[in-house]
Every structure is written in structure tokens, then in C-alpha cells.
């Protein structure tokens, strides 16, 4: 076990080729991933007053948020097109230890900002759709 660099925690987007080639979304400074699981309650009068949850009963989902400095890369243009079209596309998260998480995501939110004296920046919020593959 060793600590891992956050710089190697990268968001990538597929070029939709076969086989898919994932290109890194440029300019990112922060990448976050959150796994959520719905809780399905199966509590009854026999639960002795304690809530009971159904094993693997709820839907799971993954949210990705990322923020960085706009670079004008092809990957950023693809994300903008996906957000404008409401398109679900293939994305991949890559970790420093070589693990990847691959699946389809919807661009739920894309924010651009630019102060008068600073660089143009952006934030992305992705929501998963379907099965996620951890490899």
C-alpha cells in the first residue's frame, strides 16, 4: 500500500472508435468521484425497532465532478457538445494504481467562468447511466 498522487486521478472521454480510445480531459485541477446507493427499507414489526435494509436492493449510481482551466482541447469540445445535445457518452476514470472505472455518463452540468483578470475555467458534473465497470 502506498499513497497515490491526485494528479494521476484523471477523467477521460471516449473517441467513440472501435475499440474505444479514451483521451484525457485537459486542464483539470480537481477530479472527484462519489458512489451513491439507494437504501431499500424492509423493516417490519419483527425488526426489534431497528431499520433493516435490503441487500443489493437499491440502484447504485456514480457522480463525477471535475474542475480545471479551459484549454480548448478536443475532449473539452466533445463534453460541450454532449452537454448541449443531452447526449450520454462513454467516460473513464483512471487512477494512479492502474485501476479504471468505465461507463456511460450524462453531462448534468457544465459551467464556464472567467474573471476579468484570470483565466477561463470550467467545472463538469457527470451522472452515471447503466453498469459501471471497475477494472
Amino acid at each position: 500500500m502506498t499513497a497515490q498522487s491526485g494528479a494521476a486521478f484523471l477523467l477521460k472521454i471516449s473517441n467513440d472508435a472501435t475499440p474505444a480510445v479514451y483521451q484525457t480531459v485537459a486542464g483539470l485541477r480537481t477530479t472527484q468521484m462519489a458512489v451513491a446507493g439507494q437504501a431499500v427499507t424492509v423493516t417490519t414489526k419483527d425488526s426489534a425497532g431497528w431499520r433493516q435494509l435490503l441487500n443489493q436492493g437499491g440502484a447504485r449510481s456514480i457522480s463525477i465532478s471535475a474542475a480545471g482551466v479551459f484549454q480548448g482541447s478536443a475532449a473539452e469540445a466533445q463534453i460541450l457538445a454532449n452537454s448541449l445535445n443531452g447526449s450520454i457518452d462513454n467516460y473513464q476514470l483512471a487512477f494512479a494504481d492502474g485501476h479504471t472505472l468505465t461507463g456511460q455518463f450524462l453531462v448534468q452540468k457544465l459551467d464556464y467562468s472567467g474573471d476579468f483578470n484570470n483565466e477561463r475555467s470550467y467545472t463538469i458534473q457527470l451522472e452515471s447511466s447503466g453498469v459501471m465497470v471497475w477494472a
Binding site: A7, A8, L10, T24, A26, G27, L28, V69, Q71, N118
Partner: protein, 129 residues
């Protein structure tokens, strides 16, 4: 990138016909012997400004102007000309790209009845090309 920016900035300042004709010298170091007015780069400092995919630096450079004259307005015009030239440094440079330029602060000091020293500090955010 700090040294590259210093060189690019010096070259850009010298490329201004107004500055090159008004100033007696535009140098990296304070000139040992020259007539006023002159402009030089003072201290600079750099910190990391990278992203996950690009190497970047935030570089602060101070410019030092020494000028002579009874009229304050003459020095003000020179400072405005220098400021305008710094702010229009082209984005694409050899080895790096300029992302943003910000004026940070300035300081004016009267060193003799007619000589003034003006220090102007700028912040450059640059990324490796």
C-alpha cells in the same frame, strides 16, 4: 519558464518604438552607467500553476523605471506606455503560452528633486507549450 518569460518580456518592451526611442536602455539588469530614463527587470519569483495535464507557473516580475524631469505628467505617460506594452505581451511565445497578465502593484519614490524611481509588479500565468 521564468527565464523564458523574462527574455520575452524584455524583447517585447524593446519592440515598442515609443519605449525604445524614449528610454535610453531596456535591460534585464539595472544599467551600470546610462542616462535617464531607463527601464530594467527587477526581481522575479515563480510558483507552481500546473494542472493535471499541463505544466504551468505563476510568475511575478517587477519592472523598475528610473526617470528624470520636473513634470510628473511626463513620467506618468511613460508608465502608461510601459503598462500598455506589458499587458499586450502576445499569448504565444517560444516554449510557453501566456494565459493571463495582471497588474499587481506599483511604488513611486522620489530620489532627488528631479529623479523618480517607479517599481511596477505584474503577475503572469503561463503554461509550457
Amino acid at each position: 519558464m521564468e527565464m523564458l518569460l523574462r527574455a520575452a518580456l524584455l524583447s517585447w518592451l524593446a519592440s515598442s518604438s515609443t519605449l525604445s526611442t524614449t528610454l535610453s536602455s531596456i535591460t534585464e539588469e539595472k544599467p551600470a552607467r546610462t542616462i535617464l530614463p531607463w527601464l530594467s527587470l527587477s526581481a522575479s519569483a515563480a510558483i507552481d500553476w500546473s494542472t493535471k495535464t499541463e505544466v504551468g507557473q505563476e510568475i511575478r516580475i517587477a519592472l523598475q523605471l528610473q526617470c528624470q524631469g520636473d513634470e510628473l505628467s511626463a513620467a506618468a505617460a511613460l508608465v502608461s506606455e510601459i503598462d500598455a506594452q506589458v499587458r499586450t505581451l502576445p499569448q504565444a511565445q517560444a516554449g510557453f503560452n501566456v494565459t493571463s497578465i495582471l497588474f499587481m502593484r506599483s511604488r513611486v519614490q522620489q530620489r532627488s528633486p528631479t529623479v523618480r524611481a517607479i517599481l511596477m509588479e505584474y503577475r503572469f500565468r503561463v503554461q509550457a507549450a
